[in-house]
Symmetry: none
Subunit: 444 residues, 2 copies
């Protein structure tokens, strides 16, 4: 397999002034092409340090991809640093110059002297066209003699054959839309042609109700597989197993991964809530729609978070009629019809209050299901008996006798308010999911 | 100035499975401490490559910061790789072990054998406590002799004095909330104490109701200042001016920036809604509390988002009693007492419906103010007359004759559902802010 190294150039990246999204794009694209990437390096607009990073990258990868530093200003140094490493003269590319001139004319912007710089390229390099901006990149194929001449030592012996260039450098501007367009139109086909390796197919299997270490233990026998690989990741009160397979084509890779994916699907049962881009709320929404059930909510400490998550997806009006955020005791009594006696006797944060809120909401809304939450999100309001992080969730279903389920959560006082709310929302959403999927799991 | 290098460890970062937001956080924080950062390196879960990167970083920076690889599973390698570089034995930290045990017990989760690994630390390193998760990091001060012993050559001659550690390594887990909490509580004070370099003081002046280019034009004369510097950034339906000054101390830097900050505060008037960590919802919450007013909400297309944002801050029960998410027409009529005739005649998305919702909510809740939102968040449900992105907001205040204000927003159909909801929430919250600050601004 070919090996690439990504070099992101720009002081703004080191200062955190911009969030680097190019790296994630390039990483995914390289994986799809079946090209390994072992290092990504971010360096500022400093010629010595840029050149040092280029030399290091050429010493340990077949393909060096740079982003950033192709603009017209004085701190855009990428092209001249690359030329500098190889002592190559810079030639003006007349075709590119004409293209830039035309681009500026068409946009009715005055072309400045500094824009001429963007038409320069090191002798021997080809232009990597930019279909959406003024700064093209370069594709520069290099031979072993070029590296020897530049004094670059390489400990890395490529596994590639003689048909491949010894090394290649591809440069891109830092503007994400330009980088993406150049990658898709030119760079990706170029790399696929010269490095027709395999590709990686991957999927994320998302779990809830099981910890990362328990998940890793359960599937310990899969974690050392060479292909497909299986790796656990902790998320925000959920965890994921990533299954990835390498093969010559996406279809082959998927087939290779399938038995492992199937084994996990089988083994995880209801703790597996979704895959890839699925969110817990989207899964719950799909289940409600599929079962033709409507849901209403009575939220206290989550303050509308569960409703907000459920309604963030298109079509949520099909399963959600209404919700009440009953923050004060008075609103619990007046809006939801909770018996004031229940609040007096057990407190607003109690199983009894949660249940009364859900029952009240069920009646008020006429929906099939009602979910309620009451708890102490903190940082204040906790007592010894009822500490921050104590939350009660109740789910009621319409029908003879009103079927109901409750959960007590102890999320701990070391978790901040937003996390208490988020985790509560996940647990509450999961109760609805389990109710629709396998009510028996709720009775545990 | 001290020099840091950030090392992000995790194959998922190289594969693009997660977007790396830690790097931006660390970059900004280092800048605030006046610590240079010349390189950031991302490497996968491979022991040889991790060790190589650690050695390189120690050879060119005073401070090495790692993120990722502290979890309980077999591909979490950071701590053992660090120990490996220096041939240091790993000791079990009994205090950390007891803490992890307790954490798992309090969450009612079974602690697995693999979690014990998280209590290991290289001999000589101290624990960097993790207030929100099970994986602590380490702070490891190293002497020149340690590097010599490990065969690490350093071409870098630090400009720091003898009072500083020769090198220090700080490790953090990859989970952003944990990394941030550990940084803020322990690492930042530690670095500030050991590396009291010059520093950057900066503030973000957050604006709403004015665009980025208009803001840049208004303050064009400030944008080329050398120190303090002023830079505009576009946010999510808001924009910010960042004022930053460099000096020997925070106080000196702040004084240097003060005149510029004052000029902007003066010039921006009510378009400046807050500074630094202020959120629009927090500002509104503070104003409500300060004025001793209560607010209730009737949300339709925002689905609870405004309520959720307002209740995400501690103490929100002081100003928020309750809210209703009235998604269906039936719930607008039954819960909020909206006249069905209004919905029939003008439609649910109309100024009249918004007003009736706010008036109904005011009556239902008995609060001082009621805010309502109705609109078409998309992607479906738009018509030629009422396209996606059309939203009406109404604000009613209790009193003789019921004072009320309405706003029509046309957010356009090129904006996705989440953005329509977010922008609507910002506009609605800003109406409450303006009402409390300067009601005349609402009458425009």
């Amino acid at each position: 397999m070919a090996r690439a190294e990504v070099l992101c150039i720009g002081t703004e990246l080191l200062l955190g002034d911009v969030l680097d999204t190019n790296s994630q794009f390039l990483a995914r694209e390289l994986a799809l092409l079946g090209i390994d990437c072992f290092y990504r390096v971010v360096v500022g607009d400093n010629p010595e340090r840029i050149k040092e990073c280029v030399r290091q990258a050429l010493g340990r990868a077949d393909i060096v991809i740079t982003s950033g530093g192709l603009g017209p200003t004085a701190d855009d140094l990428t092209t001249e640093c690359l030329a500098g490493v190889f002592n190559a003269p810079m030639d003006m590319d007349e075709e590119v110059l004409a293209f830039i001139r035309e681009l500026f004319a068409s946009r009715n912007i005055k072309m400045t002297e500094s824009n001429r710089k963007q038409a320069l390229r090191p002798r021997g390099a080809d232009i990597l066209p930019n279909p959406v901006g003024s700064a093209p990149g370069i594709v520069w194929q290099l031979q072993k003699a070029d590296l020897d001449g530049a004094g670059i030592e390489s400990s890395y012996v490529s596994a590639l054959g003689r048909d491949n260039p010894y090394r290649v450098i591809l440069t891109f501007p830092g503007v994400p839309s330009e980088l993406k367009a150049m990658w898709t139109e030119t760079a990706a086909p170029y790399l696929a042609r010269y490095y027709p390796a395999g590709t990686i197919w991957s999927t994320e299997l998302k779990h809830i109700g099981i910890g990362e270490s328990a998940l890793a233990e359960k599937y310990a026998h899969l974690l050392d597989l060479p292909n497909p690989t299986v790796a656990p990741y902790a998320g925000r009160w959920e965890c994921r197993l990533r299954v990835a397979a390498k093969a010559a084509s996406q279809e082959e890779a998927r087939l290779l991964a399938q038995p492992v994916v199937d084994e996990i699907r089988q083994g995880s049962g209801v703790t597996l809530y979704g895959e890839d881009d699925d969110t817990l709320e989207a899964v719950v929404g799909r289940l409600l729609t599929g079962h033709g059930k409507t849901l209403s909510l009575a939220e206290s400490c989550t303050g509308g978070l569960i409703t907000e998550r459920l309604t963030d997806m298109p079509g949520s009006s099909r399963f959600l009629n209404c919700a009440v955020v009953a923050y004060s005791n008075a609103s619990k009594v007046e809006l939801l019809g909770v018996d004031a006696e229940v609040l007096n006797k057990y407190g607003a944060v109690s199983e009894e209050a949660a249940l009364a809120m859900a029952q009240g909401m069920l009646k008020l809304s006429g929906s099939d299901l009602a979910l309620s939450v009451t708890g102490i999100a903190g940082p204040e309001g906790g007592t010894e008996e009822k500490p921050v992080g104590l939350v009660y969730v109740a789910l009621c279903a319409k029908g003879a006798g009103v079927e109901h389920y409750t959960r007590k959560l102890s999320l701990g006082n070391r978790v901040n308010r937003s996390e208490v709310r988020w985790r509560t929302a996940n647990q509450a959403l999961n109760m609805v999911r389990l109710y629709l999927l396998e009510p028996a799991a709720l009775k545990v």
